[in-house]
């Protein structure tokens, strides 16, 4: 009941008490996401520092936030951090760009014919479920510990989810749209351009995000396993050389990069695409 009265008083400015006004301002403050984030980060940093102060040998098990910041400054000065970061990002961009560029047309082509689509659907599903990390040992035997190995693994992980998604998307387009276009005299190419491609657009967007997400994990794992320079390699060698601050720094970098990539680039694109091209069946 108490809760209810305070809620109603918020909507009627005349009857507010000082406490209500304070609570209202406080609530307004909480609504700002940036404020939330700042409070959250401060709380986490304080908790982290307390834990790190109270355990024996923090440099090995859990370095304090300050140590992580210092190590990042150190790596910035040496120029290692930017170079690792750009290496990882380059790999991701090249690998997923080739994967997407090959996967989208492949999925569309398979989807052109219902029989062919039904034929390849289980196989694409199979390869989509075999994670790129699992085929890593095979690729290592083929190419050794080289950049090629990492690239092949990324290509594999980004190609199959997108191709599978595009194929599923094309299969879900109601057959009467294709028939309608064909009846009006559209060629195979026109059907693909005007019916299948726009119809599969939401699936293409979702599949791309999925692909890039898997590729990102594959980049990190590939760098660790194949020993190529990058963020994954940085956290792996950090563990080997007992510099845990570098490991945590790398983890934070990996997390932040993915958040920025996912929330500010991929998700908006996906949402816009679904809004523009989705709901084909009105």
């Amino acid at each position: 009941m108490q809760k209810k009265s305070s809620v109603s008083s918020l909507t009627q400015p005349g009857q507010r008490t000082a406490f209500d006004r304070f609570m209202w301002q406080f609530n307004q403050l909480l609504k700002i996401d940036a404020m939330n984030l700042v409070i959250l980060v401060v709380v986490i940093l304080i908790g982290w520092s307390i834990i790190s102060e109270s355990i024996p040998n923090p440099a090995r098990y859990l370095p304090s936030p300050l140590a992580v910041v210092l190590s990042s400054v150190d790596m910035m000065v040496k120029g290692l951090l930017p170079s690792y970061f750009s290496d990882t990002l380059t790999r991701l961009v090249i690998g997923s760009a080739i994967g997407l560029a090959a996967g989208i047309p492949f999925g569309l082509l398979l989807g052109l014919n219902r029989t062919v689509a039904d034929m390849f659907h289980p196989m694409m599903n199979f390869f989509q479920s075999v994670s790129g990390i699992a085929i890593f040992p095979i690729v290592v035997i083929w190419y050794g510990n080289s950049d090629m190995t990492v690239l092949v693994v990324i290509l594999y992980t980004s190609f199959f989810p997108i191709a599978f998604n595009v194929l599923s998307g094309v299969r879900e387009i109601p057959i009467r749209y294709v028939n309608a276009a064909r009846t009006l005299g559209a060629s195979r190419y026109q059907v693909m351009k005007d019916v299948l491609f726009p119809g599969a657009m939401p699936h293409i967007a979702t599949g791309s995000r999925l692909s890039i997400g898997f590729a990102w994990r594959a980049v990190i794992a590939g760098e660790m396993l194949a020993g190529r320079q990058g963020l994954g390699w940085m956290i792996f060698t950090g563990q080997d050389t007992d510099s845990t601050a570098e490991v945590i720094l790398g983890m934070v970098m990996i997390g932040l990069t993915w958040i920025i990539l996912d929330h500010y680039l991929l998700r908006p694109i996906e949402a816009d695409t679904i809004e523009r091209w989705g709901l084909v069946q009105r």
């Binding site: 959250l40 699992a134 994990r217 956290i235 563990q239 996912d262």
Partner: protein, 286 residues
């Protein structure tokens, strides 16, 4: 001839014409792939060091199980029964992580989702934890727990927990407040609200999270076993690759794929479908 057509009609009746067509069509690419694979061994396009023969991969099962003394050592994960030991330790870890991680993730997610202020605070935590969960934790896990059993379990748990936490939190938050308020108005306790509103309302989201967490968790587990494990299928394929025993690598990859697909297709996907049909599409007041 008539007998043959009668048999084919009865088969079609038994399985359904469309399903039969899909199964038959879907098996063609696999058969072609196996055919090309076999042709490769016969004509030696690529040397057997790169692609082993099908026979070798089949033989590898028995080679790995060679010293197995019977059922008891097989269950005890004895090192003499390598194949079954690796499979059982991977699957056991998945089951253990699911038993611990799923209830904890769901419980904490619902608790966090109940209070909207708290959940708004915790949402960034979920986003951040999900974006570094899995592989990126492996080096730190090795520092904390050393190479072995605990590290792999930790990675799997970490992946499962955060996905479940995040999904059930969002699920609870998506339930319309009217239901909660109506249960409270009719004199229901907090526990009634959880049991009758939050849990069913968040169910589709929870089950989707379960399926996702199994997918991501299985991938993370394989990577964790490769880098920081001492048993399991990931460990098996990684060490076999280091010894250039490619037939064992192929065997391991196929087993990993089959286990994952079987779990996803015959356990999680039907569960998801059933839940969405049963609990999903809750009427939303405008």
């Amino acid at each position: 001839m008539s007998a043959l057509s009668a048999v084919s009609i009865s088969i079609q009746r038994r399985f359904g014409r469309q399903r039969l067509r899909k199964i038959l069509l879907g098996s063609i690419p696999f058969l072609v792939m196996i055919g090309v694979w076999h042709a490769n061994t016969v004509f030696e396009w690529l040397p057997p060091v790169f692609i082993p023969s099908i026979g070798d991969v089949w033989e590898a099962i028995f080679f790995l199980q060679e010293d197995c003394a019977g059922f008891v050592p097989l269950i005890m994960l004895d090192n003499s029964c390598l194949m079954s030991t690796h499979i059982l330790s991977s699957v056991g870890r998945v089951i253990l992580a699911a038993i611990i991680g799923l209830p904890f993730g769901i419980a904490f997610g619902i608790l966090a989702g109940m209070n909207r202020t708290v959940s708004k605070f915790l949402e960034p935590v979920g986003v951040f934890a999900n974006s570094i969960s899995g592989i990126a934790w492996i080096p730190l896990a090795i520092v904390w727990f050393g190479v072995g059993w605990v590290t792999t379990l930790f990675i799997m748990l970490n992946t499962i927990f955060w996905l479940m936490f995040f999904n059930s939190m969002l699920g609870v938050r998506s339930v319309a407040r009217v239901y909660e308020q109506s249960v409270l108005t009719m004199g229901g306790s907090r526990w009634d609200v959880i049991r009758q509103v939050y849990l069913p309302g968040a169910m589709p989201s929870i089950i989707t999270g379960m399926r996702m967490s199994m997918g991501f968790g299985w991938r993370a587990l394989i990577a964790a076993e490769m880098i920081g494990g001492d048993s399991g299928l990931g460990f098996m394929i990684f060490t076999s690759a280091a010894e250039f025993k490619i037939e064992e690598v192929f065997l391991g990859v196929i087993v990993i794929a089959v286990i994952f697909m079987a779990t996803d297709r015959y356990l999680l996907a039907p569960l998801e479908k059933w839940t969405v049909e049963r609990w999903g599409l809750v009427w939303k007041p405008t």
